[in-house]
């Protein structure tokens, strides 16, 4: 188990380094002079030289690479627009994004788990068809359309919920629904598939033969076995919610990391773009790693396979 953990952690390292290098290189992908793109054509030569120096663009690439990361870590890499350390801006927004992602995940679970279970238990019937239709619709509805439609109905027509901003549960409802629908669609399919697989296991026939009631067979035996892949999908999808949050936060003016990224793009604040992208990517990798490790901890089969 320990060697598996170590191996998994070691495998994550090159991915983290690779992702960081890619983000670092962003500024060099800008066509033309990046300083001119950031400051505009009318900037004075003194301002340009100052920014070039601030971003270390006057240094060799290898030096720039080291300075970029030490700057991020020590808070010396500053946002051009806000004149604040990039790391401070990023950390200040992380909480709002996590709050939204957690709420979206909770909503998705609340809706998708019962739907998936009913679909598996009523396989081939109308509830199953309904679940399939919902899943296809859920992954196909663009969240940049769903969000405005929810605002139109629940905020502008009915006046039940606020249009935008961050506050209490009322503010959270529409963004969480917008972000969580696609996850609910995937999760309901996964729940259905996992439960169907668990229901076909021979030990369930044995449980039924022992005279256990059907609800007990399903709740105590089948769902327990189906839980591991469902939990894995929940973990992996939580990471994916972070990218979906970029659009949802933009629609609802939710002050999270995604909105910070879009604001940074609009103001051509490339150090902040780099910092936001890196923060989202690193969070995604870490959430996936934790999910993977938890999966190993709960499922003995994975541990045994690793040992074999």
């Amino acid at each position: 188990m320990r060697s598996y953990l170590l191996k998994r952690l070691l495998l994550t390292l090159p991915v983290l380094i690779g992702a960081s290098v890619l983000v670092f290189l962003f500024i060099h992908l800008i066509p033309g002079d990046p300083v001119e793109v950031m400051l505009g054509e009318s900037a004075s030569p003194a301002d340009r030289a100052a920014l070039r120096h601030q971003l270390h663009l006057d240094e060799p690439l290898s030096v720039q690479f080291g300075l970029f990361f030490s700057g991020l870590a020590t808070g010396k890499l500053e946002s051009i627009f806000y004149r604040e350390p990039v790391s401070r801006k990023v950390f200040a927004r992380l909480g709002a994004t996590f709050e939204l992602a957690l709420a979206a995940m909770a909503l998705a679970c609340l809706f998708a788990l019962p739907l998936g279970i009913v679909a598996a238990l009523r396989r081939g019937r109308w509830a199953d068809s309904l679940s399939t239709g919902f899943a296809l619709l859920g992954v196909s509805i663009p969240n940049f359309w769903l969000g405005p439609m929810l605002i139109l109905v629940f905020s502008l027509k009915l006046g039940w919920l606020p249009v935008s901003g961050r506050g209490g549960l009322y503010h959270l409802a529409l963004p969480a629904l917008t972000l969580g629908l696609a996850m609910a669609a995937l999760l309901s399919r996964m729940t259905r598939a996992s439960l169907l697989e668990a229901l076909s296991e021979p030990h369930l026939t044995a449980a039924r033969a022992r005279g256990l009631s059907e609800p007990r067979v399903i709740l105590k035996h089948a769902l327990r076995n189906a839980a591991v892949p469902i939990l894995t999908i929940i973990g992996l999808q939580f990471g994916a919610l972070l990218s979906g949050a970029i659009i949802t936060e933009t629609i609802f003016a939710w002050p999270g990391l995604g909105r910070l990224l879009i604001e940074a793009i609009q103001t051509r604040d490339f150090p902040l773009v780099q910092g936001s992208v890196l923060a989202i990517a690193l969070t995604y990798v870490m959430v996936n790693l934790i999910t993977d490790l938890l999966y190993t901890a709960v499922d003995p089969r994975v541990r045994l396979e690793g040992r074999a």
Binding site: P31, P142, P148, L156, A240, T250, I265, V277, A281
Partner: protein, 268 residues
């Protein structure tokens, strides 16, 4: 039921391509023709889906918007599939250090969630149709590479490949004439889902202001419409429906093709 899904999906795909090709003949007005005094007029007999804030005909812009979606979808899928097939087959057939190198690159690119990297690349490269295709293709090939590599790893050990090798066929010939033919079905299914994903991603980028400039695109129309949600909701409803129907169609098609050709149970 599955066949119905395939037929429905194929019809949507055909409709998209036909609309894109025949846009000048189908659109009642030029998508750029402004009539400022008629701005934000709702659906009428002259303008079936209404007019935007510049008085431009929403239906005509939707029809021309199909062009952007079709171009981005087809170009992204073609480029991504070609790169992915090349990388995946080389990686799977030869293995070793080359495989390790390619797969680490794939790991790094997959470390970025969803369209995050596309957003960042489109922002860095500048908003244009070409840059959207470039950004989406730079990420899109990863899925094909993983898929083809996995398939080639399985196929290369089979008897027919051993036989071709024994007959003196070169690695290039084995990959091109034997292996790729046998991995084409999953690639076609992946490409169908890839069309849906590319169209959705293009609309997302355009919604964020990072898509094609000065071209009517469904995502950009939604972005403009959001400011007039209270007074002119049709500006948001119709472009969103266009994206939804198109993406749903390709997902139906992909789902149906997968069930028909890749799931052994359904074939039986």
């Amino acid at each position: 039921m599955r066949r119905a899904g395939v037929i429905l999906g194929a019809l949507v795909a055909l409709l998209l391509v036909a609309t894109a090709l025949l846009a000048p003949a189908l659109a009642p007005y030029s998508p750029k023709q402004q009539a400022l005094c008629d701005g934000l007029h709702g659906p009428s007999a002259q303008h079936w889906l209404g007019q935007d804030k510049h008085g431009r005909d929403v239906l005509s812009r939707l029809i021309y918007g199909a062009r952007v979606s079709a171009i981005v979808g087809l170009a992204t899928v073609t480029i991504s599939a070609l790169i992915g097939i090349l990388v995946g087959s080389l990686s799977g057939y030869f293995g070793g250090a080359l495989d390790q190198l390619f797969m680490r690159v794939v790991d790094v690119l997959q470390a970025f969630p969803g369209i995050l990297l596309a957003i960042a690349l489109a922002a860095v490269l500048g908003p244009s149709l070409e840059n959207v295709i470039l950004a989406l293709s730079l990420l899109g090939w990863v899925g094909y590479a993983r898929l083809v590599r996995g398939q080639v790893l399985v196929e290369r050990e089979k008897d027919y490949v051993q036989a071709a090798r024994a007959l003196g066929a070169s690695p290039g010939r084995i990959v091109l004439r034997h292996l790729l033919v046998n991995v084409s079905a999953p690639v076609i299914v992946q490409a169908t889902f890839g069309m849906a994903a590319a169209i959705l991603a293009e609309a997302s980028l355009s919604f964020l202001g990072l898509g094609a400039q000065n071209l009517p695109s469904w995502g950009a129309m939604l972005n403009e419409g959001q400011s007039f949600l209270r007074t002119a909701p049709y500006l948001s409803i119709f472009p969103g429906l266009a994206v939804l129907v198109t993406v749903l169609g390709f997902n139906f098609l992909g789902d149906g093709l997968r069930d028909l050709y890749l799931t052994p149970r359904s074939r039986a």
